[in-house]
């Protein structure tokens, strides 16, 4: 290997005294060669982001700081540089791309100005030259209509467009190293594929070294030259991407790779000819955004256009779509949180659409929901036992009995029975999602609607929760409507899939059939966009 672009030696980052671990990064040594993409893979809390920030001195000082090691870059140790010297490196020699394109840009400044700021800080270019360079950069990241783009504010752009702006910003001065901290995690899968492609293309064109931080092995397979797997602040394995992905050595890496949901479609169980449990016929829902008290211009958004689907008893159907496709709206209509405009929703032969709140109340216990965000969906002031027992109690079960049932349910979802006495903040994300599942099961529903129940979880936890759902389906005979943006997850959980795009179901059928031969172009583009598809298929 030639002289590395950056060489990290025994880097240590200390956490504040009150955290459960002393070091976020505990002696990491890595080299990145010029023009190489090194992926750091790890789950949340592995210290991968802290390491990225430590290189540029962007840690939230004074509580979190680098306490040991060296970071050699262009002949200097970045950790010993003064604030001024470090500032000259930032943006010029090392640039950064962040996870959240929604918040990484100043909402009150046109994006062109924000890119220009980099040039203004580090170069003596005249305003006209700066402007020309900004326009070039916008073209480099393939954004349309550069002249108009530079005058736009962040809120006028989509997530993918904003991430392109951030990338343009990072590339402005052709840095030697780009640190990309989960740059595609917040994006839709097709947008993710485009951004990954863009990063790779630009990296090849400019010969930049990239430190790419991610939690997704699919993304690693897509983009990495070399991989380092991190756990608890330490690198447990590193090597060429093909080696680590193809033949992982460390047990932790093996477990992570095994947890990646495969693209093997779940097979349909033989149909028994019973009428479907859930029937949705020609459902329509339009959101109208009026401007103020006296109307004025009205903007219409068709969230559901003539949507029809059926869910058989004891089976599960995945509703797959990207953000804004209307899948969550559809779910909210089915559980009766939104009124429908026209069309029919039937559960077990009974119409539940178009009913008033009072009429709907006796039906509520038949459909329960598992929410996406395990942190926001549990009341922090209530004990877990009360959260789980509330549903049965509302349906007339005595408190003692309801709590006893809650204890049993919590055991079923893999929590200790003493969880009843504790509060939600004492549990991890995966455990909280288990509590959410127990809560949904408590009233013995006929149908569970799960809205992205695992997308906020780490891959290994995700696998456990999916397995739990699977077990529960068998033992409770549950039917499930599973909403997800991730085809891989859909394939693992559901025997049927409906693909949604812009309020319409564009393709519907058995998972195996759709995976074998996707017929709609949008479905095909979703398949093409699955990160690391070739590698995942190879996993068997």
């Amino acid at each position: 290997m030639s002289e590395p672009a950056i060489s990290i030696r025994d880097l240590q980052v200390a956490l504040p005294a009150w955290s459960d671990r002393k070091l976020a990064v505990a002696g990491v040594s890595l080299d990145i060669a010029p023009g190489e993409i090194l992926c750091i893979v790890g789950e949340s809390g592995s210290g991968k982001s802290m390491m990225g920030k430590a290189i540029l001195g962007l840690l939230p000082a004074p509580h979190v700081r680098a306490v040991g090691g060296q970071v050699h870059f262009e002949g200097r140790d970045l950790l010993t540089l003064s604030e001024d010297a470090l500032r000259a490196v930032r943006g010029r020699r090392i640039a950064m791309i962040f996870q959240e394109p929604m918040t990484a840009l100043n909402p009150l400044m046109p994006v062109g100005r924000q890119i220009e700021e980099v040039l203004e800080i580090h170069t003596d270019l005249a305003p006209a030259q700066r402007r020309a360079r900004v326009l070039d950069l916008i073209r480099d990241v393939h954004l349309p209509d550069p002249e108009r783009m530079i005058a736009s504010y962040p809120h006028q752009l989509s997530g993918g467009q904003r991430q392109r702006i951030v990338i343009a910003m990072a590339l402005a001065l052709e840095p030697g190293l780009i640190i990309a901290d989960e740059p595609t995690t917040a994006l839709d899968v097709t947008t993710q594929a485009q951004i990954l492609h863009l990063i790779k293309e630009l990296q090849r064109a400019h010969g930049t070294a990239v430190l790419f931080i991610t939690h997704d092995f699919g993304v690693v397979a897509e983009i990495a030259d070399r991989v380092a797997v991190m756990r608890h602040g330490e690198v447990v394995e590193q090597g060429a991407a093909a080696d680590v992905l193809g033949a992982p050595q460390a047990d932790y890496t093996k477990a992570l790779v095994a947890a990646v949901p495969g693209l093997k479609p779940r097979l349909r169980e033989p149909a028994d000819g019973t009428p479907p449990l859930l029937r949705v016929v020609d459902l329509e829902k339009t959101y109208r955004i009026s401007s103020g008290l006296f109307g004025g211009a009205v903007r219409e958004v068709k969230a559901a256009k003539k949507v029809s689907l059926e869910l058989k008893r004891g089976s599960s159907l995945a509703l797959v779509g990207e953000s804004g496709s209307g899948k969550t709206t559809l779910a909210r209509c089915i559980i009766g949180l939104e009124s429908v405009e026209s069309g029919l929703i039937e559960l077990d032969g009974e119409r539940i659409s178009g009913r008033s709140r009072a009429e709907l109340r006796p039906h509520r216990k038949n459909i329960q929901m598992v929410f996406q965000d395990p942190y926001a969906s549990l009341n922090p002031r209530q004990r877990v036992g009360d959260i789980v027992a509330l549903g049965p109690m509302l349906n007339g079960v005595g408190r003692e009995e309801a709590i006893a049932q809650a204890r049993e349910l919590l055991r079923l979802v893999g929590l200790k029975p003493d969880a009843v006495e504790r509060y939600p903040h004492e549990f991890s994300g995966g455990q909280r999602q288990r509590i959410g599942i127990a809560r949904a099961l408590a009233v013995k529903p006929k149908l569970i609607v799960a809205d992205e129940p695992v997308s906020a979880l780490d891959v290994s936890v995700q696998k456990q929760v999916l397995e739990l759902l699977n077990d529960l389906r068998k033992s409770f005979g549950l039917s499930m409507l599973f909403i997800t943006h991730d085809l891989r997850v859909a394939a693992t959980v559901c025997e049927e899939i409906a693909i949604m795009q812009r309020g319409e179901i564009v393709e519907r059928g058995a998972t195996a059939d759709i995976f074998a031969a996707p017929s709609h172009p949008y479905t095909r583009s979703l398949f093409d966009a699955v990160p690391g598809r070739a590698w995942i298929s190879g996993l068997g």
Partner: protein
């Protein structure tokens, strides 16, 4: 979003204010009907008693013998042409009285707004920059003390210290009526009289805005776009002036708009303490004189003032925040 349709937006907003002001007028009118006594009884009482026929005659003259809904209808009909009725107490049309008193109150309000917003934002900014140092603590503690001090007490203490003990400022009034100043001398005289009332009314709001600005600055400084700016190599000072400051300003501007109603309420107290010849003082006097016509007029004008100030704040907001869509 774009200023092209700003004119249309302002017109539309002005049209929307009509039902608001109308509602305020009707509610006020009906509320005052509940108040005991009327002008006729007060006049009769001051004359040392009067026969019932005389009082009835007075009521008929004022139009108070008619059913309430007819009185209301007449009031609203006159309102369309800005005829707010006649103050029998002050022997002048209400509209003229209001116009006379509007300017002193506006002067007081504008000065208070400028002072409290200007210094409040500055203090909050400094406290945030010096966060967790003794300077920040000093500003924060001072702000809490001022925030918790009643308005009338501040006014009286300022008079006691700066007018009576030190004799730096006059105790009351808007100008020295016997000096007959003209031109710039008059401006200076009014400014001299303005200092204590403005200070009294400002302090509370100054503390409020300072606290809000500090909190808002600290919140914004923790957001992702600040890290982005830092990763570009931007200096901390530029990050504050260029990125954080404007974002932090938004909640303060919102609050300033909400607080204008309170400002008018506060001006009643301050104008009474300093004998400032404005609307607040007039409201106080007319209340005790049972001069309900005049009181209604003041309420109407106050409502209009609040609505107009809120509109101005919203327009300012459009320029501050590109995310606000108009139309």
């Amino acid at each position: 979003m774009k200023s092209g349709s700003l004119g249309g937006y302002v017109v539309r907003r002005l049209i929307q204010t009509v039902p608001v002001v109308l509602g305020v007028v009707i509610v006020n009118f009906l509320l005052l009907q509940l108040a005991p006594g009327d002008l006729a009884t007060v006049l009769a009482g001051e004359a040392g008693g009067a026969p019932k026929e005389y009082i009835d005659q007075l009521r008929a003259r004022f139009g108070h013998d008619q059913p309430v809904y007819i009185q209301l209808f007449n009031y609203l009909r006159n309102l369309i042409v800005l005829d707010l009725g006649y103050s029998f107490r002050q022997s002048a049309p209400v509209f003229d009285l209001l116009m006379q008193r509007l300017w002193p109150t506006l002067l007081l309000m504008v000065c208070t707004l400028v002072l409290s917003l200007g210094f409040g934002i500055l203090m909050g900014l400094l406290a945030a920059l010096w966060v967790r140092t003794w300077k920040d603590n000093a500003i924060s503690v001072a702000a809490i003390i001022v925030y918790a001090t009643p308005l009338f007490w501040v006014g009286l203490m300022l008079i006691l210290v700066f007018s009576i003990r030190l004799d730096w400022f006059p105790t009351s009034g808007m100008e020295d009526v016997v000096a007959f100043h003209e031109g710039w001398a008059r401006v200076a005289d009014i400014a001299h009289h303005l200092v204590l009332p403005t200070l009294t009314l400002s302090l509370f709001y100054l503390a409020l805005y300072a606290r809000l600005m500090r909190a808002s600055m600290l919140e914004q400084r923790g957001l992702d776009y600040v890290v982005t700016a830092r990763a570009k190599g931007q200096s901390e000072r530029r990050i504050t002036t260029r990125h954080v400051f404007r974002n932090a300003l938004l909640p303060v501007v919102t609050m300033a708009g909400v607080q204008t109603g309170g400002l008018i309420g506060g001006s009643v107290v301050v104008e009474s303490i300093f004998a400032w010849p404005g609307l607040g003082q007039l409201a106080y006097q007319s209340l005790f004189a049972r001069d309900y016509n005049l009181l209604l007029g003041i309420f109407f004008l106050s409502a209009v003032l609040v609505v107009v100030v809120n509109l101005i704040v919203d327009v300012v907001y459009v320029f501050l925040d590109p995310r606000i869509r108009i139309g």
